[in-house]
Each structure stands twice: as C-alpha cells, then as structure tokens.
C-alpha cells in the first residue's frame, strides 16, 4: 500500500462512522421528509404521489397562514425583544450599573431552568378565565363578572404567549452575552475611560464591535428555535381557541399525529426548514455587513 492509498484508506475509515451517523440522523430524515411532502400517506399502506398538492393545500389554508403569522411574531419577539433586552441586561450587570448584580443575574436566568411545560401551566393559571389575572381585575375593578378575554381575540390572542416567551428566554441570552462581555480585556475599557470616552462611546466603539459574532450566533439560535417552537405553546393553549394561538409546528403535529396526514405534515416541516434557511441566510448577510463595518 502506497502512502497516498494508506492516507485515503485512513481518511475514509475515520470519516465513515461520523458520516454514517450524520446521514442517519440528519440527511436521511430530511430527504425522507422531502419525499413524504409529495405524497398522500396515512402512516400505513402505499404512499400515493400527489405532486405539489400538499404544498398548495398548506399555502391556501388560512390556519397555516395564521400560524405562520404567529411564528413570525415569535421570531420578532425573540430577535427584537429577547436579544436586545438580554444584551442590555448583560451590559448593565457587566458595567455594574446596579448593586447585587449576582442576584439580578440569577433572577433573570431562573425562568430558563424551568421546563417549558411547567412554565406554560404556571402562566396558564394566571391567564385562564378563572386565573389570577381575572381575579385581580375583579377585585380592583369591583366587577365580579369580569373575565380575561384576550385569548378570544384572533389578533391579540398570541400576545400573552409572546410575553411568556420573552420572560422565559431573555435570561439565556443575557448569560451568553455576559460570558462574552467578560472576555473583553478590561484594560481596553479602562484606557478608554482614562482617555475620556463616554459610556455610549465605550458601548458603541468597544463593546458592540467585539460582540457582533455572538449577536449573530444567538440570533440564529433565536430564529431557528422560534420557528420550531412547540412545547410551551402546546402546553399553554394547544393552539386554541379556534387556532388563534397556533404556530406551524402545531399545525404540522395536528395533521401528522391527529389526522394521519403525513404528506401535509411533511410539507409543513419542509416549510419550517426552508424558512429557517432563508432567514438565517438573510441574517448572515446582515452580520457580514456589520463585520466589515467594524473591521
């Protein structure tokens, strides 16, 4: 065996197991899902090829479109809510603008340590028709027949869920940003302070440029996590009432596991993948722009 052959054999032997595992858990499921999205199949029997019918049905279904709208709102609250808020909280703690910063760090991070199902049940106890919110308003307004009806409004039903998502996940981003902020050499900030730099200048000229990469990475997490969000919303409302709080992952679940429409479920799954790829590609373009700006 020549040296090149030996190296090639070693390469193949070493890479093959990892490739096989990757193919089994990533490539095959995606490829199979793509195939299923073009067939009508109930989970048994022979799949029947239907072309783009599943996609057509999905894209003309008002429930899917409302779910997509809700998903984009979840993406919005994650990208424009959790990330800026997490960053600001991390910065406040990092620059010691509050006392007892460890206490605040723990308090803000605490919700992420609780299971999403438990969080959903807890907040459901607050927002349900017989929940704490209704009881408080009844007591304050002196109106014993008041009932919290936000969930009955098609447009606003998702708002309590967005609030809980913001409450729950902001702490995660805060901790990630804080860890990265602590990696900035303190001498640079001290030097800037001695040179008379103001707080906004330190933030804009030193901190922000150092954090571009991590902001991009966390934004990718936020987008992909938001598009597949399921557990918290399912435990909270199961997408109801009348699909008002449904997101596309619930739409996919319902069609696949309740109605045995594996084809429609697979096409919804493909929509999530495509949407994730498009949004993440868009984010990369924006991130590159900022990277070039700060280089």
């Amino acid at each position: 065996m020549t040296s090149i052959q030996y190296r090639r054999a070693s390469y193949i032997t070493l890479v093959a197991p990892a490739f096989l595992v990757y193919a089994a858990v990533i490539i095959f499921p995606i490829a199979y899902t793509a195939y299923l999205s073009f067939v009508r199949w109930q989970g048994f029997g022979i799949p029947q090829w239907v072309g783009l019918a599943n996609y057509t049905r999905m894209l003309t279904d008002p429930i899917f479109l409302h779910g997509l709208r809700n998903n984009l709102l979840v993406v919005g609250i994650s990208v424009f809510g959790q990330i800026p808020l997490g960053f600001v909280l991390a910065y406040v703690i990092y620059r010691r603008m509050v006392r007892a910063e460890k206490f605040f760090e723990v308090m803000v991070f605490l919700p992420i340590t609780i299971s999403p199902v438990v969080v959903a049940i807890l907040w459901n106890q607050i927002f349900s028709p017989a929940g704490a919110f209704t009881a408080i308003v009844r007591a304050l307004a002196g109106n014993p027949s008041y009932v919290m009806r936000l969930f009955e409004d098609r447009t606003l039903a998702i708002v309590p869920i967005l609030f809980v998502i913001l409450w729950m996940y902001t702490g995660l981003y805060m901790v990630i940003y804080l860890a990265n902020l602590q990696r900035i050499d303190p001498e640079i900030i001290e030097s800037a302070t001695i040179d008379g730099a103001s707080e906004p200048q330190i933030f804009g000229r030193i901190v922000l440029p150092a954090m571009v990469n991590i902001i991009f990475t966390t934004t990718v997490f936020a987008v992909s996590g938001s598009l597949k969000s399921f557990d918290l919303i399912w435990a909270f409302t199961q997408g109801g009432p009348a699909h008002y709080t449904e997101v596309i992952a619930i739409y996919m679940y319902r069609h696949t596991f309740r109605f045995y429409n594996y084809g429609l479920g697979a096409s919804t799954s493909m929509a999530i993948i495509i949407l994730s790829v498009v949004l993440i590609y868009g984010l990369r373009t924006i991130a590159r722009h900022f990277e070039r700006r700060y280089e």
Partner: protein, 432 residues
C-alpha cells in the same frame, strides 16, 4: 497496520452501539408458569379517583390470574395517542392496548395491527348492550371490547338551586333562555361547560342537538350523502342554538379557553345550575359530590327546540372504548391477553367498575347498594333515546375542522351558515 486495526475496531464499536440503540421489539414472554404481557393503558395519573379504580381492577385480576403478569405503561389524552401512533409506526405496539371503536385509534386498527376479537367473543355477544357490539371494522371486526356505553350528552341539573330560584326545568330552548337573567342575577352560571379542547361542544352538545333539529332519518341520510347535506336547515338550526346560547351569556364565561374540568368544579361547588358534559362525568361526581348533593342532582337532556324533528329528550350515544390485543399475539399469549380484555369488560371487571361510577356495556344488574349517581346514570342510559355522536361516525380531520369552526362561530368570526358550508364541503370531499 496497527492504525488500520484501530480504525476497524472504532467502526465496529460505533456499528455495535448503533445496532444496540436500535433495540428490538418487545414481545410477550412465557416460562413454564407465568406469561408476561406488555400493556399500554389509558390512565390519568393525576386523577386520584382514576388511579385508585385502576389499582382495584388490577389487584382483582391478579388474584384471579396469578400466572399472568403485566409490564404496564400509562398514558392519557394527547400523550397516549401520540405514543400509540409512534409505536404503531415503528411496529412496536404492546401486547395489550387501549383502543377506540372509531377513527381515533384508526392507525392501529385499520392497519391490521390489532387482532379481531370475534373468535373469543363468539357466543358471548348477547351478554352486552346491543350498541356495544356494533362492528368496528369494514368486515364486522371487533378490535376492542367496549367497557361501557357512553351517553355523550347529559344536562346535569342542580334541582335544589332551581327550586331556590323559583324555577322549573325548562321545557323549551326559549324557556331556558328566559331563565338566564334570573340565574345570573343570583351570581350563578346558567350552564357550566368548558370547551378549551374544542371537542366538548361537538361531542357533548352539538351531536345531540343535530338529532333534535334533524331527526334520525335525516341524520342517517346526511351521513350517507343521500339527498341531504350539512348545509341543510336542520344542521344550521343546531348551530344557531349554540350561537344563541353563547350570545345570551348562558355558558360559563371564557368557556372556549377553559381547561376541561373547570365546569365540573363550578357545578360541584354549586356555582352553576346546569352542567352539560358526557355521562362519564358520573365517575367523578360519585367521588366529588356529597351524599346530600347526590340527592338533588338530576340527569336530564337539553329541552325541546323550535321546529324539532327528532325525539324529545334525546341524547347521543356511542359504544365505549376498551382493550384490544396486538395482532402478533398467538397461542397462550393471545389467550392470556383475552383473559385481561374479558376480565376488564366482562362480568367481574364490569361489577367493579360499576361500583365506581361506570355504566358497563356488559349487562349486569344494578346492586341494591349502588351509588345514587350510578343508579341515575343507568336509568338515563336505559331510558333515553339517542342519536349518533358526530366524532364516532366521521373522521378526525372533519372533527378538527368542525370543532375549530364552532369556536370561531362563538367568538364571532364565522356565521352558522359558513360553518355548515365549510363542514359539508370537507365531508363531501373526504368522507362520503
């Protein structure tokens, strides 16, 4: 050479781990004396009454059949169905599982993964209520032995509250509406009902209303698509009644976002005069109501409606759920599985379940010391005429559409006519 051997060893190790992770299908095991079967039951582990009843049944079975052991897994509601479906898709169903007589567990029954019980049941059919022995498969198969006959619509009535308010049970829909202001004025809920899951309105109310407004002759024709449709006046009239009640604040406030169980709590705590739910709620009422309360809770049905074509006082009924067995089981293992199925829905299990509030599908006499609520429910089921339950005669997806649209109708996004039109189009395209 050593490096190549090392690499080959690594590949074998990863391959071995993958093979091990793939596992193998669990199967019934037998030795000389004991047969061990896997079982997936439908039990709400958060419901102490449900759990206690289950343990009594299991203990009684083991006393009778000490040679049959179970490896039991519990599931409830969506979690049960999701796991059962995953097991079915993977070909790893347990030996015994809890099944529905309709499409709800259609993936298991329609795909041939559940055994037809008729060979064991032969000659015993007459011991069950007639409705319980209705075919569950296209060739007359019986995949699960129904535990009970279920009346899905009961209007539980607090007769004492009615008396205190100076009211009588209404004879018509309009009389009921007229009671609304009086009941609300007293700080009470006219009709306690929760519909957060969406199925409750369809199963426990609309199904009975459709028989009232249309009658069984029309009901059968519309299901068959025989010169009748869900866009007909009969079905729209049933939807109108629901909308009428909702608009007149007759139901529990916020019912469409309420968890299942809140209405029961309101009724038990005497905060509601009427409570609409299925007959299965008697199980909970047996444990939750005081002896005094049991004396003044009546089991009735919705009053007459305008232009009624159906039978006055009718409800909706369906054959109940029950246990079935994996089609792979043969010989002694299959016989052992049948022992459990027969125990659960047959004379012994039925007697135990009856004591705890069930009305079994198996024909047994009511004991003299039966709980008053059980006595009332037995009388109700024996004497009340019944129509179809929509979700037992139409598919899951049709119901998903209807239930969502019913909620939208109550919340003001759709009219009864629109709901009827969308439902008819879907049923015509997919079910007939």
């Amino acid at each position: 050479m050593k490096k190549i051997l090392l690499c080959v060893a690594a590949v074998l190790l990863v391959g071995g781990v993958l093979l091990f992770a793939a596992g193998r299908a669990e199967q019934a095991t037998t030795d000389d004396e004991t047969i061990t079967l896997t079982m997936f039951t439908y039990t709400d582990l958060t419901d102490s009454v449900d759990v206690a009843n289950w343990e009594v049944l299991l203990e009684a079975f083991h006393e009778l059949h000490p040679n049959i052991r179970f490896e039991i897994d519990h599931g409830f509601d969506e979690a049960y169905h999701t796991r059962l479906q995953a097991m079915s898709a993977a070909g790893r169903l347990p030996d015994i599982m809890f099944l529905w007589p309709d499409d709800r567990t259609g993936m298991v029954t329609a795909s041939g993964q559940a055994k037809d019980l008729r060979p064991w049941l032969s000659g015993l059919e007459g011991e069950f209520a007639e409705i319980a022995m209705m075919p569950q498969g296209s060739n007359g198969e019986i995949y699960e032995l129904p535990e009970q006959v279920t009346a899905t619509h009961v209007m539980f009535t607090n007769e004492r509250l009615l008396d205190e308010l100076g009211l009588d049970f209404p004879r018509t829909h309009q009389e009921l509406l007229a009671q609304g202001p009086v009941i609300r004025e007293a700080g009470l809920i006219p009709i306690a009902m929760d519909n957060g899951g969406g199925w409750q309105m369809q199963s426990t109310f609309l199904s009975a209303l459709v028989e009232r407004t249309g009658g069984m002759e029309w009901y059968n024709r519309v299901l068959a698509g025989d010169n009748a449709s869900f866009e007909d006046r009969e079905f729209v009239a049933a939807l109108d009644i629901i909308q009428d009640l909702y608009r007149n604040d007759m139901f529990s406030p916020g019912m469409n976002t309420a968890d299942y169980g809140r209405a029961l709590t309101d009724f038990v705590n005497e905060r509601a005069v009427y409570f609409i739910d299925g007959g299965w709620r008697v199980n909970a009422l047996v444990a939750e109501l005081t002896e005094d309360q049991k004396g003044h809770v009546g089991l009735r049905t919705y009053p007459d409606v305008a232009n009624q074509r159906g039978v006055s006082g009718s409800t909706a009924m369906v054959q109940g759920t029950g246990y079935g067995m994996n089609s792979r089981l043969e010989g002694a293992a299959a016989d052992a599985a049948w022992e459990w199925i027969w125990f659960y829905s047959g004379p012994v299990g039925s007697e135990i379940r009856q004591r705890h509030g069930a009305v079994p599908a198996y024909r047994i006499d009511l004991p003299a010391d039966a709980d008053p609520m059980v006595t009332k429910l037995t009388g109700f089921i024996n004497e009340t005429p019944a129509g179809w339950v929509l979700d037992s005669v139409l598919g899951q997806e049709s119901m998903g559409l209807l239930q969502g649209d019913l909620q939208e109708m109550m919340l003001g996004s759709r009219t009864p006519g629109q709901v009827a039109q969308r439902f008819e189009r879907f049923v015509a395209a997919n079910e007939r």
